[in-house]
């Protein structure tokens, strides 16, 4: 056991730290084009898609180096790269399952964010039970005809392409009849409507597909392999960013302490209130434990371990923590924590919460509710942990009984 960075990793960290200090944009990036330009700057410097193999435009970086770069990005309060789903898991999915033509056509433009990507998985009636999805992809000889509705499509309004799960064979067991496509979002028959969330903002969309086309060449893997492909790649979303996430929590903690010095209760700063101190100590301990756990996962990744079902522990842990964290922040800050505009400078958040949006305590508090729902709800994660990590017996499910 040795938690020191290796000399190479330390050198890499120093280099990344210096680069971000020098290059981080001073002004807020307002338009997509400005964010794309910043993304491109980071890509050219080698800080986007670092884990991708060099032959596809990445740098084949180790998990540790990827985590260090993400951490330095968070430390510098740098705007996140765009096309996160594309770089984070759609590209890797194409690398693992795609044809040479698909790799040639799509990968580089994912990295450079010349083409923006979204994920077309969830449906109004298929949330946790994703495999029950009903969007149809009918084989029409030279193409697939796509009809259906998707929901919770983040970035759908700016996406050029989407990775789509659709039912290509309604006649077989539900997990077997799903196929995975690369799907053109800029075609007639695709309508994207923003979904207004409890935050008041619209990071997500609904996507309606009416007689839209998926080309034959854009099928990923085999027909009917979609569920399997989705399973192997969902894990990409978890694990690697944990350190950077904790760095962002830590910068919010510093803001919280600043506010607790300024805000008074009963004529004394909140920070002198023993109850507030106990809460601060508690949440700081929890935050540090998230950091230690992230290091442990990173150490396993670094050794070439595949996190597999254990990544469910990471996801469950940080998303539930984040909810408790911002609940506690708002509890401590009282009414100041609920101000979304016009508050005192010293009592506002103004750091990137996990959504990547520059924002208020109230926003972070609201956004935290999403984490325990998206990408496999906490309940689904606990099922996975129970069945696949602890080896507990599977539950008897109506849909399994029906097929048996």
């Amino acid at each position: 056991m040795d938690l020191n960075l290796s000399p190479e990793d330390r050198a890499f960290r120093d280099q990344a730290r210096a680069w971000f200090q020098r290059n981080v944009p001073r002004a807020e990036l307002k338009t997509l084009e400005e964010r794309r330009a910043w993304h491109r700057t980071m890509y050219d410097a080698g800080y986007v898609g670092m884990g991708w193999p060099t032959e596809y435009g990445g740098r084949g970086a180790t998990p540790m180096q990827q985590a260090i770069a993400a951490d330095e990005m968070a430390r510098a309060n740098a705007p996140a790269p765009i096309n996160g789903l594309g770089v984070g898991f759609i590209g890797p999915t194409i690398i693992i399952h795609g044809t040479p033509e698909q790799k040639q056509r799509y990968l580089r433009k994912i990295l450079t964010a010349e083409e923006m990507w979204c994920q077309l998985y969830s449906e109004p009636n298929s949330g946790s039970d994703l495999a029950s999805l009903r969007t149809r992809a009918e084989d029409r000889g030279d193409h697939f005809l796509v009809n259906g509705q998707k929901i919770w499509t983040s970035g759908g309004h700016i996406a050029d392409w989407g990775i789509l799960l659709a039912r290509s064979d309604p006649g077989v067991a539900k997990h077997k009849g799903i196929s995975c496509f690369l799907f053109d979002m800029r075609q007639p028959g695709v309508e994207v409507r923003p979904l207004k969330q409890i935050t008041g903002s619209s990071e997500f969309n609904e996507v309606f597909m009416t007689n839209a086309r998926a080309e034959k060449r854009d099928l990923i893997g085999r027909l009917g392999q979609g569920w399997e492909i989705a399973q192997t790649t969902l894990g990409f979303e978890r694990g690697g960013n944990s350190m950077a996430r904790v760095t962002r929590y830590a910068s919010a903690f510093d803001r919280l302490v600043d506010a607790a010095k300024k805000i008074e209760r009963g004529g004394k700063p909140l920070l002198e209130d023993p109850v507030v101190r106990a809460k601060l100590g508690n949440v700081y301990a929890e935050m540090e434990v998230q950091r230690y756990a992230a290091l442990r996962v990173l150490s396993a990744l670094q050794k070439g371990a595949s996190p597999g079902a254990a990544s469910s522990i990471t996801k469950l842990s940080y998303s539930e923590f984040e909810k408790r964290y911002y609940e506690l922040c708002l509890e401590i800050l009282g009414p100041y924590g609920q101000v979304t505009d016009g508050g005192l400078e010293e009592t506002t958040l103004d750091v990137d919460s996990s959504s990547g949006v520059r924002s208020s305590w109230a926003y972070a508090f609201l956004w935290a509710r999403a984490g325990t729902i998206y990408s496999g709800s906490s309940e689904i994660q606990k099922n996975v942990i129970g069945e696949r990590v602890l080896g507990l017996p599977k539950e008897i499910r109506a849909d399994r009984v029906a097929k048996a």
Binding site: L3, N4, R277, G281, L298, K382, G386, L390
Partner: protein, 367 residues
């Protein structure tokens, strides 16, 4: 960066597990619960022979010169076995003497501890139930070349079997940690009966107990003891929690109700998943802190407080949930779950409770 155990560390863990599974079965633990002394001389001698008592002590004292990570590994296994033993308090006191003591103190106590001939403890608590130096009420007064100690120490682990007790006291307004032989005149020990008969504690009364003027460690030893004690206790609590999790999962696989194993019900499965999450986080917290203190990382003291406060809460929850998963059988004296449940609970107030460590955290990060 490597968070996993080295092969030597893994070997130590495996051999400790095998030894304790063989020699400290629940039946043995129960015998020691009923024993007036509460621990076994034979077991202590075996621990010495296995090199456990001198694990972190220098080689010239008969030790192995290993670090806090190795000690934590053993402590986790001892907690897993709910082993009644003055191991933690003895090793802690010996590490402080090794770090801060004079050559004479070291040669007097370290080989004796490593060889199994001496037990030691630390008297960190008083009436104030606060571990800060400014709350110490015990006085040290110089009397003709000697020091007389007066005060009452509360909840001192294993004081009734200790040969030497480390006693924080104030001389004027200066704190120091005095090295007091338990047999010295003026030292009296009153054992208490508490929730966990495997973690014995006693009140230690010092009524002008005389020690040599040089028989003391500097005030820095106080923080050292609290931090390393906190990590040791966290490791034992982690072990107890892991044992409870394992028992709950095994039981949930075989216990049937409504014609199915209860582990197939989400109410049980989700509870087990939450328990695993807490155990894995506790592992990360405990070993991070052990490593950080051992390697002199700048956040060592902070990490010790994080570990003690986090693992206290987590282990209580995990061990308690294990009883819940078991249902009625888990509430019986005959079933072994309460051995571990009680061990974890007993360690909560020792070496700084969660509340104290949270305050220490805030002092470090929010001043």
């Amino acid at each position: 960066m490597d968070f996993s155990f080295s092969s030597d560390q893994q070997l130590l863990k495996n051999s400790a597990r095998a030894f304790l599974d063989e020699h400290v079965k629940p039946a043995q633990v129960r015998l020691l619960w009923d024993d007036p002394r509460g621990e076994s001389e034979a077991l202590w001698k075996e621990m010495a022979q296995l090199g456990w008592l001198g694990l972190a002590l220098p080689e010239d004292a008969g030790g192995s010169a290993l670090g806090l990570v190795e000690t934590a590994i053993l402590q986790e296994e001892l907690g897993r076995a709910a082993c009644p033993s003055p191991y933690l308090s003895t090793v802690l006191a010996a590490m402080a003497i090794d770090r801060f003591g004079s050559p004479a103190q070291k040669s007097r106590w370290l080989p004796a501890v490593a060889g199994g001939g001496a037990r030691a403890t630390v008297a960190l608590m008083e009436r104030a139930l606060d571990w800060s130096p400014q709350s110490i009420e015990t006085r040290a007064e110089e009397r003709g070349g000697k020091v007389a100690l007066s005060g009452v120490k509360q909840f001192v682990p294993w004081a009734h079997v200790a040969d030497v007790i480390l006693v924080p006291a104030l001389s004027g307004s200066t704190p120091a940690v005095y090295v007091v032989e338990a047999s010295a005149p003026g030292v009296s020990v009153t054992p208490l009966t508490t929730l966990d008969p495997g973690t014995r504690v006693a009140q230690v009364t010092l009524d002008g107990a005389a020690v040599a003027a040089e028989a003391k460690l500097p005030a820095d030893a106080l923080a050292f003891l609290l931090q390393r004690g906190a990590v040791g206790a966290a490791a034992e609590m982690l072990g107890a929690a892991r044992r409870c999790l394992d028992m709950a999962v095994e039981y949930a696989k075989v216990r049937e109700q409504f014609g199915q194993p209860i582990g197939s019900f989400q109410a049980i499965r989700h509870k087990c998943a939450e328990m695993l999450l807490e155990v894995e986080n506790s592992h990360a917290a405990t070993y991070y802190a052990a490593w950080a203190l051992a390697s002199g990382a700048e956040d060592g003291a902070l990490a010790a407080s994080v570990a003690k406060s986090y693992v206290s809460d987590a282990s209580r929850k995990v061990c308690g949930d294990a009883i819940q998963v078991h249902g009625g059988i888990g509430f019986t004296w005959e079933y072994d779950l309460h051995l571990y449940f009680k061990r974890a609970k007993a360690l909560e107030p020792l070496y700084g409770d969660a509340e104290h460590h949270r305050e220490l955290i805030v002092r470090r990060v929010a001043s």
